[in-house]
Amino acid sequence: MQATSYALTLPVMVPLMLAVVIYAVGQRSWQLRNGLSVAAALSSFLLVVQHYRTIMADVTLVAEFPELLPPLGVSFRMDHLGFLVAAVVSFVWLLVTIYSTVYMVKEHAKNRYYPFSVLTLAGAMGVILSGDLFTFFLFFEMMSLSAYVLVIHEETAEAMRAGYRYLMLIPAHTKRFLWRRSCPYCAGAN
């Protein structure tokens, strides 16, 4: 059974919005910044878990936005597997964020780390909850690009080299997804 629920976009949109807020408040107060980062991961987790009863009732949730980014459109979808993975990922992210508030104390550039960590979470949630390969591709690209900043956090020569290699692989990888998405599209169109 399928049901439309636009609340499905919230686990993605809330961290996305909060990332901007975290970057803005990070300049002023580190307490607020760290607190908001944890709150972003927590809210993402809660927003996933709230669908527990619906999913257990064998209902697949979908949210479709065909008008966004025509001609392909954007859609979200949550079934048993999606629910499980989304819940686990956001929960682990919550733990990691709590851990990093302590671990990162001695690190530099924390104002960069937290917003991009939350942005990566938004991308990851988007990848998990995506309803079609095109949406998957969109969020995969977002996740990969923001993860680049986390990869090179050390800014040592070694990290930069690894980061550059990683960055050059992103377009190659993601375009392959687009490719796979397009072939059936092409076959269907003719």
């Binding site: 980014l69 375009k175 687009l178 092409c186």
Partner: protein, 488 residues
């Protein structure tokens, strides 16, 4: 409904009027700016009204002086012309804004603004022209004004670059004039509609004349639009011009000639021409060359403005690719790319100008660490670069997606691969700039973000990159109907 009936001529007339008034104001800076920006705003309002009217009521044909078609000059505004005029008016207004309040690079703003306004008026006239002679007059005005806004910087390099542009552009104009003369010889008309109906009868009797004419036309417009092997003037010209000129030239001027060529193709020559002559194959071959060569040349540049100029060569190839593939999606992609590339390349050129002005650094090898000193400027540059690479959520992604889907629709997988390769090449020369600027070692250069008034137009363009990346549906009705003009 008589609203905006006069918009096609009023847009050109208002810009021309402002062009004539600005030199009179002399040193009164505030008044000059007011006239300059006022003309841009009025043109934009008229263009929006005209577009809405065209969408509601179909093609608007305006007989100048009240003389009917075969005798008088007709201004013909179909969806393609309305879309082009809207793009021109919007992007030009933002560049006007930057020219008025950005860093001063030209001694006489009065004369500079006159030239910019003349150029914009000519471009507006060109996309709406309904007969070939009128079109040619506007082409000449825009070519001369474009050359002048490069040379006005007054440095040795800019004068040399503009002279080279002048020679090649004059060659192109000569070709166009000859081609128009040949068409007039075959048909006896200059009005595009009448040429098309006459050609249906006479084309078979004069195949050689028609072939020569089309060849000259493609070469003439190709030189002016910097289609791949004819692009040699572009890198010097666009990189040595003042910042606002570079943005205007790279963002709008090269594309106007593509629009004019395609308008002639479907209005005057008729779409049968694509079946009779291998124009599409020519476009496909040349745009492949442009996409690869432009990107490869861009990679080895050390001057930021030259890199952007070579990137324009590649992106012009992208637009031609859309018309070469010639199906609904591909043409939609090419037409969308006219807007998207105008927005993102103006953004990149304006930020590059700001960076050069604030830090005095032109060389990419010295950009290391600059991003931390001027974060807002480099954030804008990053947005533009991401759009050039085609990161989802930005405008560049949408047009590349449409082009790739168009290539698949045309069963030409190789061009979909080509687009992916070009995106990868773009990433290979844009991302290192950003990485070294934000994460590189600190250099000695002193630089700060400029005042808000300078950055405001840049911020608007950056916003537009995201806006057209997220909500392309705003332009879709216009773009779809434009594509339908070609593939009926």
């Amino acid at each position: 409904m008589p609203e905006f009936m006069h918009a096609p001529v009023l847009i050109v007339a208002v810009l021309l009027l402002a062009a004539f008034i600005t030199p009179l104001l002399g040193k009164r800076q505030a008044a000059t700016n007011a006239v300059f920006l006022g003309a841009g705003v009025v043109a934009l309002v008229l263009s929006v009204g005209m577009t809405l009217r065209v969408l509601a009521q179909g093609t608007l044909s305006y007989p100048v002086g009240g003389w009917p078609a075969p005798y008088g000059i007709v201004v013909l505004v179909d969806v393609f012309a309305a879309y082009s005029s809207l793009v021109l008016a919007t992007v030009a207004l933002i560049i006007f804004w930057f020219a008025a309040f950005g860093p001063r690079e030209v001694r006489h703003n009065g004369a500079y603004f006159t030239l910019i306004l003349l150029l914009t008026a000519a471009m507006q006239g060109m996309v709406m022209a309904g007969d070939l002679f009128n079109l040619f007059v506007f082409i000449e005005i825009s070519s001369l004004a474009a050359i002048a806004i490069i040379a006005i910087k007054g440095t040795k390099e800019s004068v040399e670059a503009s002279f080279r542009y002048l020679v090649l552009s004059a060659l192109g104009s000569g070709g166009l004039l000859f081609s128009i003369a040949l068409i007039f010889m075959i048909t006896g008309h200059l009005n595009m509609d009448y040429i098309r109906t006459t050609l249906m009868v006479t084309a078979e009797q004069y195949p050689l004349n028609l072939l020569t004419s089309i060849g000259l036309m493609v070469v003439g417009f190709g030189v002016k639009a910097a289609l791949f092997p004819m692009h040699v003037w572009l890198p010097d010209a666009h990189s040595n011009a003042p910042t606002a000129s570079s943005a205007l030239l790279s963002g709008l001027v090269v594309k106007v000639y593509i629009i004019a060529l395609m308008r002639i193709a479907y209005l005057a020559l008729g779409l049968e021409i694509f079946a009779l002559f291998p124009i599409r194959h020519l476009f496909l071959a040349l745009s492949t060359g442009a996409l690869v060569a432009g990107s490869v040349f861009a990679m080895v540049q050390d001057n930021v403005k030259r890199l952007l100029a070579f990137s324009t060569v590649a992106q012009v190839g992208c637009i031609f690719l859309g018309f070469g593939l010639f199906n609904q999606r591909a043409i939609e992609g090419g037409v969308l790319h006219i807007l998207n590339h105008a927005v993102m390349k103006s953004l990149l050129f304006l930020t590059a100008g700001v960076i050069i002005h604030q830090s005095g650094i032109k060389k990419l090898s010295q950009f290391s660490g600059l991003g931390r000193k001027m974060p807002l400027t480099f954030a804008a540059f990053t947005i533009g670069a991401m759009s050039m690479v085609g990161v989802p959520g930005t405008a560049g992604f949408i047009s590349k997606l449409y082009l790739a889907l168009g290539a698949l629709d045309a069963d030409m997988l190789v061009f979909a691969v080509l687009i992916l390769i070009s995106s990868l090449l773009n990433a290979a020369y844009y991302f290192p700039i950003i990485i070294s600027a934000f994460f590189g070692r600190d250099s000695d250069a002193e630089a700060t973000d400029p005042a808000f008034a300078v950055l405001a137009p840049v911020a608007v363009l950056a916003g537009m990159v995201f806006f057209f990346g997220m909500f392309p549906s705003l332009m879709v009705p216009l773009v779809r109907q434009t594509a339908l003009l070609f593939v009926r």
